[in-house]
Each structure stands twice: as C-alpha cells, then as structure tokens.
Symmetry: C2
Subunit: 152 residues, 2 copies
Amino acid sequence: MRNSKPATDDDIQELIELFFFAYRDFTADPDAILAEIEFGRAHHRVIHFVGHRPGLTVAELLELLRITKQSLGRVLKQLVEEGFVNQVQDREDRRQKRLSLTEKGANLLEKLRTPQAVRIQSALLETGYAAEDAAHFLKAMTGSLTAADKKE
Amino acid sequence: MRNSKPATDDDIQELIELFFFAYRDFTADPDAILAEIEFGRAHHRVIHFVGHRPGLTVAELLELLRITKQSLGRVLKQLVEEGFVNQVQDREDRRQKRLSLTEKGANLLEKLRTPQAVRIQSALLETGYAAEDAAHFLKAMTGSLTAADKKE
DNA sequence: ATAGTTATGTCAATAAGGCTGACATATTAT
DNA sequence: ATAATATGTCAGCCTTATTGACATAACTAT
C-alpha cells in the first residue's frame, strides 16, 4: 500500500467530515442503550477502560480519559454505588484503589460493545480491510502532532 | 485487500479504543484554537458545514448535526453577530435562510482545518494508505446499523 | 517522629452544549 | 381562509466538563 497518490485538499476535507460522521454514528448506538438506564457516555468510557484494564487505578483512568478527578468523581461513584464497578485497596500501596467490573458491569459492557463491534465488523467486511490495517491508521491518527512524543 | 483474516474479539476491542483515542486527539487541536476566541466545538461544526456547503439552509444544517434548532440557535446567533456567518433570504422561498461564511469565517475555518489536515496527511503518509481507502473505511462505519438505509 | 508528598474524595461555583415544551412570525401551499 | 413550513426565541432542565479549595489516609524521606 506504499506510495499511493497524494491526498488532495478535497480528499482531506472529505476525510475530516467522514471522521465526524463515523464517530457520531459510532457513539449513537451505545448512547441509546445508556439512556435507558439513565447513564451517559461518560459512564461508558469508564466501564470500557475498567473492563479492558482490570485493576487499573483512579489516576491511570484519569490519564486515559484526560478529564479531572472531579468530573470522574460523580460518574465513578454512581457506577460503584449501583454495583457496576468494584474498588479494592491495593495491598502494596493502600492509598490506591484498584478498579474492576462486577459481573453486572461486565454484562453492561458487553451490551454496549455489541453494536460497536457489529459496526466495525461490517465495515471491515464491506471494505475487505484487515483489522490490523484499520488499527494502524487509527494509531497513526492518535497522539500529539509534534512527532516528539509519537511513542505515547 | 479482500479476504484478509477475520477480526478477533481482541482486534475489535482494540479498534473501539483506538477510535476513541483518535477522535479525542483529532478534536483536541481545533478545540485549543477555538478556546482562544471563546468558541466551542459546536461553533466549529457549524463553520465546517457552512463552509463546505455554502448556501445550505438551517434545516439542512440541523439534519447534518442531528441537534435541535434550540441548540443550534445560540451558536448560530453568535456566529452571525460576530461576523463569521452570513444569512441571506432565499429568493424562491423567502422563509428559508441560506447560510454562508464571511471572509472572517473562511479564515477561521482554514485555521481550524490546518491541524486536522496535518494529522490526516501524516497518518496517510505514515501508513502509506490512500485517502480513498481511509474514506472507504470511514464511510462503511457511517450510517444506520440496519443495512436498510445504507445509501444515506 | 515529623514533615512533605501522593492518591483519592468531596464541596462549591461555573460553563458549554445538549434537551423539551411552548409560542411567535413570516411565508408558502391548499 | 386555513394549514403547513422554516425559522427564531423564551424558559427551564440535564450531563459533563471545568477551576479552586480543602480533607483524609497512607506512603516517603529526613
């Protein structure tokens, strides 16, 4: 796939717009499910990362989400109180709380994941692209623009 | 690129997450520019679509953004008052207002577009993918999940 | 032991950007 | 004339973010 023809301004313009539409629709499906149980997108993000990185700490979660602890606070509190997320004190550093999903939380995550997985699978099938290639592109879209910290 | 190996659950999981990161970083650059002039992401969206589809009506803009007219109202009003967007009455149907960017608006759009264009160009360069391929994938990610209205 | 730092949590105030519902106006269509 | 459409606006509400200040517990260094 190397050395394809360069992108024109119009190509770029189209990609900017498509990226907006794709993300808008990508989040719309789980949003609808979340609305039923009076949760929002913020809850989804927490459940996603806690589910995917069981045992992560609050500080690590904040860094992933790039929000303040005050913002996380309410959402996390709700998730814990309603039994979606577990907090256990770390043995070595008892200030830290290790987060993980309860079974209830794992069930919700799976429910939220499904439409997004279906959407991605159909897109891969439709285009014939490998997951690897899509991942490569999205990774290249991520991070700071100054190449300095590309390894992030 | 047809018939690549099928995506595993882990592949999908990674793509879901990468999509979140990519969009987070994609919007962070213009957000920083907008903050300087006390605008938000909502202003960006309006400027983008008005710039890209000069002469579109308010109703069309609402459909693109998928928000209510009350939500659009505040943002559009600001953009018009501060001279970024023009409204002209349609000749044939004088109820309609055709929206377009002023020079000031076009300048701002260009300024906002630049970091996003740079990000996309570097991602294409880094991966060696053609803009066309990226567009194809993002289009496949867009729309309703029920194939019924795939042509949208 | 004491002092400082770290991880977490919480309170209060503020803002952006969505939402619903209601209503107003001008214009077009029947 | 009446109804429907395109737009705008008022009022109130919600979620999710922000900053700043402060509290507590636990770890680290002196």
